[in-house]
């Protein structure tokens, strides 16, 4: 039961991560399209700036749960290193609880923000004027997912026999864990 929850939440976070990555790629492509249109064809670019800003920003909030899953949000581990295994586990639990509290608070706050934008039909003040609720939706979605991911972590920490993956520094490192096979033998 617990295992199933943890697995499911992990997969859901991965799904968000894929969405986030796609948004980053789209932002990159649209920036290039904008430069091309303006520099080569000298035509007006109306929607590109808003699109790029909002998709990249939304991507950051949507990607956050996956980064939590992978222990990629850096934290201070100095105290942890000084403690015994048992106290370390307890400290991690406290940290996870506090993280959960923050994410719950932000879930409430960003929901209020999203709901106002939706109900008030707020637009971004630009020529394109996209409805603000679309990018703002990423915030409550991201924080809700962060809450679920934190609950999963707390379950991992409190259920005996489950290995915790909190602050795995390797995950924070770009591409360290991947492509090892690509590294060529060094000439001696």
């Amino acid at each position: 039961m617990i295992k199933a929850y943890i697995r499911w939440i992990g997969n859901l976070s991965r799904l968000f991560a894929i969405l986030s990555t796609i948004l980053i790629i789209l932002a990159m492509l649209v920036v290039c399209q904008m430069i091309l249109m303006r520099y080569v064809f000298r035509v007006a670019t109306i929607w590109q700036t808003d699109f790029v800003v909002f998709s990249a920003t939304a991507a950051m909030f949507l990607g956050a749960p996956y980064v939590l899953l992978k222990g990629g949000h850096v934290g201070v581990d100095v105290i942890e290193l000084l403690l015994s295994d048992k106290s370390r586990a307890r400290l991690r639990l406290v940290g996870a609880m506090l993280g959960l509290i923050f994410c719950v608070i932000m879930l409430a706050a960003t929901w209020v923000q999203f709901h106002e934008a939706w109900a008030g039909n707020w637009k971004h003040s630009s020529v394109w004027a996209p409805p603000l609720w679309i990018p703002l939706l990423a915030l409550p979605a991201g924080f809700a997912m962060l809450c679920l991911q934190y609950v999963a972590q707390i379950l991992v920490l409190t259920t005996p026999g489950m290995h915790a993956v909190v602050h795995d520094p390797l995950a924070a490192v770009p591409a360290v864990s991947q492509n090892q096979s690509n590294v060529k033998e060094y000439p001696r």
Binding site: R42, V43, A44, I46, S125, A129
Partner: protein, 309 residues
């Protein structure tokens, strides 16, 4: 005990920007009125981001702000009319506009949202280009321009210009490297960002100015209603004085810009009545039209503004 109010704006503090000076003046006058009221100023977006000030002031989290009203046009589309090409024309007309039916409507929207105007302020702006003088609409054709305000962008696009959006701090580098051919921003920014080093021609506001932006000093209604009658009176009096101060100084600012650019060897022109009318015609087909479509009662609002002599 002393009541402390927070005032926020996005302009540099203590550097002589008139909008900052307006708020400082209000703070000084309120303190001098001796009504147990203190105003703390947070200049240069040091508290709220420019766009976030509206939400904060209408909710009563922020007490006072010098705020470009168009920034809130995403929430109240009527506000786009306060940064609409050719709706103001010159400073004397701006003054008459303040007491018109048009501004009564706008201020009603502001009050219903939870804020109130204590000092009116219309800021003028100019155009500058590396290519040549921007006068009639066809002089802008094919140029890449950074414009201030969506309604302006709509009109400039209709004139055949290409728009590049960037913060005003990038305009200098933009014009220098050639990303931008032209720029449209407030007279104050034209001086402080030293665009005369790259501009060939400046179109000064003069009698037929296209670009005007409404940047009043707002007070949160929630907060205002909590104050004592003496405190309220002190704030309103200080606002009125600041408004008079602004009206005088803003004209000097335009003159300073013209002098600076002339001294730097930049050609300085103004729009003729015909140029202005041509732009207005273009605006009617683009920005005004979009505004009327987007905003309920939008065409009536524009008519009221145009009806002012």
């Amino acid at each position: 005990a002393q009541t402390v109010l927070k005032a926020s704006h996005q302009f540099p503090g203590g550097k002589g920007d008139i909008r900052d000076e307006m708020v400082q003046m209000i703070a000084r006058d309120v303190a001098a009125a001796d009504v147990d009221l203190e105003i703390q100023i947070f200049p240069g977006s040091s508290l709220y981001k420019p766009n976030d000030q509206w939400n904060a002031v209408t909710r009563g989290l922020l007490d006072m702000t010098s705020f470009p009203l168009d920034y809130a046009s995403g929430r109240h589309p009527e506000f786009s009319a306060t940064l609409m090409p050719g709706l103001v024309g010159n400073f004397d007309r701006a003054k008459r506009l303040n007491d018109s039916e048009f501004m009564t409507d706008i201020k009603k929207v502001i009050e219903d949202a939870g804020a109130m105007v204590i000092a009116d302020a219309w800021l003028s702006g100019a155009f500058a280009s590396k290519q040549g003088c921007i006068t009639s609409p066809d002089t802008l054709k094919g140029q890449v321009i950074r414009a201030a305000g969506p309604a302006f962008e709509e009109m400039l696009v209709a004139a055949g210009a290409s728009i590049s959006s960037m913060p005003s701090s990038e305009i200098y580098t933009g014009m220098q490297t050639g990303v931008l051919d032209a720029a449209n921003t407030s007279s104050a920014s034209f001086v402080s960002y030293r665009l005369f080093e790259h501009a060939k021609c400046l179109t000064a506001p003069g009698e037929n100015a296209l670009w005007f932006m409404y940047e009043p000093v707002l007070v949160s209604k929630k907060v205002f209603e909590r104050l004592t009658p003496e405190q309220q009176k002190a704030i309103l009096a200080a606002g009125e004085k600041a408004e008079a101060f602004f009206d005088e100084e803003v004209r000097k600012g335009d003159q300073l810009m013209v002098d600076t650019y002339k001294k730097a060897g930049v050609e300085v022109v103004e729009m003729s009545k015909e140029d202005y009318d041509a732009w207005l015609e273009l605006a009617k087909q683009s920005s005004y039209k979009n505004f009327a479509e987007k905003v309920e009662g939008g065409d009536a609002l524009i008519e009221k503004a145009l009806a002012v002599q």
